[in-house]
Subunit: 383 residues, 4 copies
């Protein structure tokens, strides 16, 4: 019996573990360019609204498009199951806490209706907005033709963990390379957290990649399954794959950090870690125009056998315009997200998102103890 | 006087310090095989119920066996000391907090009765269940013949720290190699946390090894004695010994992580750290069929001179079937443990427990601050 | 697709992460010399009061100068906008919490009046005090002549992040080398956190440098923008630039740690990290002579579009003299700051600030859990 | 301007950061030898009671000696200043929280009386107990003859930080080598935390060394002065000096970890870090025989200009005998300290304190969040 090598583990970092160091050159915020591309489609702001029923309905998608971002409509939620989704959403908002998980399990067991899928897409397009919709891998083959036919601009295929190689006995797995060559619109896929899985997915021809599996320190996927990678490390790894794939192929696949961001500072950190854009759930659910009535819930919440997450009360913090562009008299980083990104980029001397991806990230854990410490830690610097 | 080398200390990790990264291939959960073996006996699910009086009585052991797992009956508890253990258990559950430690000290000072030991085993066997029983090293020589005679299938010898070499003036220590050759059933030994101690114990001929000494960050063994090794590091080290011993001897000794797991995610992490199975106390004590009436307590709690731990109220969360297999409308990772293991293995592309032991573990501390942060950290991904 | 190098991140440390090891020689506290210089001006104590409207008004500046330190008057605050600043300050103190940010936004939108700028400076000088005033880079060119003309001794140019190279389309950036050669008084610039930015700023001819961007673990600049460097690391890096620049040029630029210090122990740590002095906001706002009526607020708080921070209630803990020199019957490190610095230096055997900068700093995180743990951790050592 | 080397900081560890791994051999607790020596004087248990007025008075010292340990009487406290110390102690216990620091400042400003010093020592000796007394370096030259004359067995010279080289203008520093050769009894000195300072002090001829400066994570010396070294690192460093000095000189100087221990587990960790014994304040103040009426306070608390620490309510947990030897029905590690040390040594297979100093220490932070997590983390192992 000899002595043995200890198995060594790698450190992974989340938003609360890091901070951005300012640059040696600074820049006026109004000189920054925040644009984001999927294939040939360009957006003025690098923000996506998450495909959650409490966040995006067709009306919200239209408004969000007007503001220069991209809201993704969930095509496996209430809008594709019910003729009257607003009434269903109101029931979810009104349910007492202890009854909400069974209620969600019941509501989401109603069948999907293809005609409702098409109707949602047509309504968004009729308003002149860019239309992105989201489906799971298992439904993609069935719904993709309907989606393309109805005129959607971007197809998002999303599950908790998505890889280019999924093994299943019960159905023939979705082949992303076949999907990308068969649909004429950009395909965005997620979620994914590693260099290797990201690289393989990019090789299938996708236009964008969503990063994030169990990102929060105490997220339920991590509690229930033990699975999860903190978002800063996940974003850095997937961004490294994007850059290597770009060098090898000449094709640029946009990387979107999805989940775990609660303040505008987290968005700046995601970009500094390598993201081209971010997908936001709870911050967007706080808009008065969001369909969730001040609540939101993840798509794993109503899982019939193994529900993960629950309905969360986020409240309503202001209009979508205030959340995106201010003006604000709120000081916690949930209003004027775009102004915060521009100001952060100015402090780092970064004129574009690609430049901000090279900002200096430090490991600097934020231990949030109590309100008093929080407030005492002001600095005398001026804006 | 020269400068000196600083004594350097090794880092050790617990469940809250790590997370599992998903794989580059994924797998449908229904394609996973969770089987566990001790010697020639195979179990369908890799879960043991802990040898604690609040968790396992003969009835619970029979039911647990029916579900494919293994419940271990403590043979030095109330069932071997009292003709009417149910009445004693009810008294423990009814005692006020401040009186419970002296009450436990008193109850556990009653003498062991060999005829009760045999009676318990025969009752379990009569129901057609697999019967595992647990004794301390000091009682093993006296009770082993009774246990074998009564027909038990597996003998567990367990104390806080067990080594192949125990030095004592007052009695001749238990020699595990003698025990293993003298009893005709598989012997499982614990607890143990280091490579060297584990390797030496495996060489004695045991069939299984329990891992865990003072595993929790704030466990009382650690408070009272300062002794304890976080479970992920302990499991990784003992698993390395198992693999090295298997390469050297061709004999596979199953490694069971025992203690410190509070959610199904912790079970997935234990397996990813190298465990073949897990032994659960508090989660199992929450079953409505558990004998503790919503309470449990460790076997060090009633120690007459140096009690460690106390009676803990865990409440009753559901039936044993729900806890093991769901369905569930509980979202915190205490129901449908088997479903969670299968889903976690699917995300890692691991068809067997042996494959899951090679999953990529990351250091990613979970700082659980407050309910609000917890809830805000949802992700938009779908199940 | 090859394996990739992980992008590696550097650790950064704040006050709560470190502790000072005592020296191998000790010194009587009364043998320590705490003096600080900007150009030819020497101060007996290495403490600056922050340029915040709740901390410094002309009366406070006069008193602070008498005690041997340097209070910096903010020339873009209420004293330069209102004839009756005391009445405005009283309104700020009286406003309910939820109304204070809009009120600050409104108050600070009133125009600056050059005659009030000059009046404040003259009042301080007339009392025989050393006068330091603070402006932002954008106002410097306009206000510098007025400031010099009125007789100020030190000019502080301060914004959240200041570099020698600021890029702007809308105005020609302030050139610090031009400023330093055109004004006949020492120029102190801030804030800055990196070696490179500090070195470049020193090359412009400045006399002092303020260190600190988003220093606190939970400071709002960090929440809103993600930008911030913990103060110990920032101070160590800027101090390294100061020492290298001094070796190269023969000119010594004093480095002042600004922000994030809540106890006298933090001041000692800043010096041990390399600071020549410290700038204090919240501790000084607790003086009964401070103009904030027990409140203070940062200069980024009233930002019209992206307010950061808020009005903080600090209360009044005693007179400025008690805060600086004691005597004290307060045990938490907010009184007798000068005595604490001297005692800390004595324990490290450091006769001067320059010697204290070489003290042995250790990484020793302070996890402040609960009052009880805090209080139980006394040591039996005598003073 | 070239790039620069970052100043690197060393990690330091406290009790909550580490855990002891059990050994590969185990031992019956009754086979352990806990003896401790200062010079030729041997003690059966390696525990000193701290020289604090709330902990040790002559009666307590006599009882403690009877139990085999060593209680140190503070000769600069109430017993040397007042004819009626019990009445003074009762006043301290009865004072409201907000008045206690000024009251302590006043009480401890009364003059020392040499006849009271001698009286205390004679009373302890008359009872047949071993007598250890404590003075500060500044009083040592004056009081040492009185102490020796009165018959004390051990002289402790203690201040917050003590070095062999103290620089002072106002008085000629105490020369420890002169002291050790002039007094005929063992001299124990403290406090000290570094290899170098410890080595130099050992060379002066002392018999014992107290380790600990600002040990607790949130101790006031650290808050007020920033100075402090976590106890595990401090003990490891001083123990390394002891071992090197022993190899070089053949003389063994006992190392006593002083402060920061709140549970018996911390005592085991101190020994595993290299201590020969421990000095306890708050745990001993909880004895019903302690003079503090359930309170204690450090000797830096009444400092007239810079008070550090405060009166702490510890309550009364049992008799001194129970605290030292049990039996116990308390499960938190504050009773049966000696039993816990023996049990911990047994788990590590360490027959003597010198063997236990070689136990395997791991870095395994204890994050104590909330009662619930604490209690759920029980393990099923038996005692």
């Amino acid at each position: 019996m000899a002595s043995h090598e200890h198995r060594s583990l790698r450190y992974a970092y989340g938003f609360d573990d890091v901070a951005i160091a300012p640059g040696d050159v600074t820049l006026n915020p109004d000189q920054t360019d925040l644009s984001l591309k999927f294939g040939e489609i360009t957006f003025n702001i690098p923000i996506l609204a998450a495909a959650m029923d409490g966040v995006v309905d067709p009306g919200f998608a239209i408004l969000f498009s007007k503001f220069g971002g991209l809201a993704v409509l969930n095509l496996e939620g209430v809008h594709s199951r019910y003729e009257n989704p607003d009434e269903v959403l109101a029931r979810i908002a009104a349910a007492p806490d202890q009854e909400v998980t069974p209620l969600l399990q019941k509501i989401y067991s109603a069948p999907l209706k293809e005609e409702l899928v098409a109707k949602c897409i047509r309504r968004i397009k009729a308003a002149g907005a860019t239309c992105a919709v989201s489906v799971t891998p298992a439904s993609t083959k069935k719904l993709a033709p309907v989606i393309v036919e109805a005129g959607a601009d971007i197809l998002v295929v999303q599950s908790t963990v998505t890889t280019a190689r999924h093994l299943s006995k019960s159905y023939r797995g979705l082949i992303f390379s076949e999907l990308c060559s068969s649909v004429p619109i950009p395909v965005v896929v997620g979620n994914c957290v590693s260099y290797e899985a990201a690289y393989e997915l990019m090789e299938t021809g996708i236009a964008g990649l969503l990063v994030g599996v169990g990102p929060g320190a105490a997220c339920t996927t991590r509690e229930v399954l033990g699975v999860g990678v903190p978002q800063v490390t996940a974003t850095m790894d997937v961004a490294a794959a994007r850059d290597d794939y770009f060098r090898a192929s000449g094709r640029y696949v946009s990387v979107i950090t999805d989940g775990g961001m609660t303040h505008s500072g987290d968005i700046c950190k995601a970009i500094a870690a390598g993201a081209d854009g971010v997908m936001l759930g709870s911050i967007m659910a706080q808009a008065k125009e969001a369909p969730g009535h001040g609540y939101h819930w993840g798509m794993a919440t109503p899982h019939p056998g193994l529900p993960r997450g629950t309905r969360v009360k986020v409240g309503i913090s202001g209009s979508l315009e205030q959340i995106l562009f201010g003006p604000s008299s709120v000081t916690g980083g949930t209003h004027n997200l775009v102004g915060a990104i521009r100001t952060g980029m100015g402090m780092c001397g970064a004129p574009t998102i690609r430049d901000m991806q090279k900002a200096n990230l430090l490991i600097a854990p934020a231990i949030k103890t109590e309100g008093k410490v929080f407030q005492m830690r002001q600095q005398s610097g001026k804006s």
